[in-house]
Symmetry: C2
Subunit: 231 residues, 2 copies
């Protein structure tokens, strides 16, 4: 789930003066369904580009040692919508983004900064040398139509995990995902899994089956914690 | 000199079906003046995009620990030209690219692979948080009009440095640029400096003054070697 673990991505916009595609670096987060969310300054070139033409893509690449082209990466194509303070989803997008990027709190309140949410139209997955596939939006996003209860309970679930079950988050990351030890935190809950984070590292814990409501989330998390303790 | 040390970059092309800017990962090299050169397969989406509309940009980002947005990065905008086997500059572009990416030798000869050279139109430098500047092509490329002698001697100079002065390359990197020890090699000679490489790491050694001919290159390299030995 590259989309769920992306923190830094390359944004491609259309240069408002020449029409050239313009690549720039950006911090990204996601909405509950996985739709990319960015926070940009109106003073930045890519923001001026988006204001003129909102078509864009984001490249999210897994990184590691050696040849960068040997790792999977995902290009997500879509159209960005500016999120204004009055929008009903602004508080949610802000909250989710700042969980993912706590340092952005420094400037997220500045008057020239604002969020943009991407309406995904398609995606292109490159799994490494000579392995590529075109994907539909539905193949990279979570369907929340049958999981509204879970989505509505996300904030409470995150607060509960980080408040009362921080040790479980740590075990998920270290025992089940084989990641470095530390104070891992939960930063997102999706029907297909849990978004975890430690400093600049993001991770994705997949569920063994789709979870659509808080009543099913609890036993799933407990089962994973038991599994982690035994591991 | 991000352009001279870039090895992996994000390429932004125009999606041939939807017109969306399309971001993908790519290996890059440069021509003698710094113009970006890429090697792509005709089977790749970005190649099909370039064949339909050759306008593109490349994002070259310095990487390191911590916040990726705190490091400098350069967006180079331009138009790519396909380089066919019969082109006069094909052997030079191939040679320079394969010095930078020795592993690409595995597929550089495949029938579906070919080089593209970017004609730079402008650039955008982002020096870290809230420090950005638009640059003209002449500000990021080397002017070779008065340095034709040096350009013509590049292959010999590279062979000479790697054959007879490999220890100097190592000292330049370790003593003058404070880089890890190893068998550093010279992979490019520009009027403004030397391109060095060790495995996947690229470095740039700036000259104290512009060098336009082999006669001026020798004392400059000797002086830098003396300086490195004393360091």
């Amino acid at each position: 789930m590259l989309l769920r673990t992306g923190r830094v991505a390359t944004l491609a916009t259309l240069d408002r003066n020449t029409g050239h595609p313009f690549a720039s670096l950006i911090n990204m987060g996601t909405d509950r369904d996985g739709s990319p969310v960015i926070l940009t300054s109106r003073l930045a070139t890519h923001t001026a580009n988006l204001e003129a033409d909102a078509r864009a893509s984001l490249l999210i690449a897994e990184t590691g040692k050696g040849d960068a082209l040997a790792y999977p990466r995902l290009t997500v194509l879509g159209t960005f919508r500016p999120v204004v303070r009055e929008d009903a989803d602004e508080p949610r997008l802000r909250r989710r983004f700042l969980l993912r990027h706590p340092k952005s709190e420094l400037y997220a309140g500045f008057a020239d900064f604002g969020f943009w949410r991407m309406e995904v139209v398609s995606a292109h997955l490159n799994g490494g040398f000579a392995r590529a596939a075109d994907l539909a939006a539905a193949e990279v996003l979570s369907d929340l139509n049958d999981a509204k209860e879970l989505a509505d309970a996300e904030d409470d679930a995150i607060a509960h995990m980080n408040g009362d079950h921080s040790e479980a988050c740590r075990l998920y990351a270290t025992r089940l995902l084989d990641l470095p030890d530390g104070a891992w935190r939960c930063v997102g809950v999706a029907p297909e899994g849990l978004e975890l984070q430690l400093g600049g590292e993001a991770a994705w814990l997949p569920f063994s089956q789709r979870v659509m409501a808080p009543g099913a989330l609890r036993p799933m998390l407990r089962q994973l914690a038991d599994q982690a303790r035994r591991a």
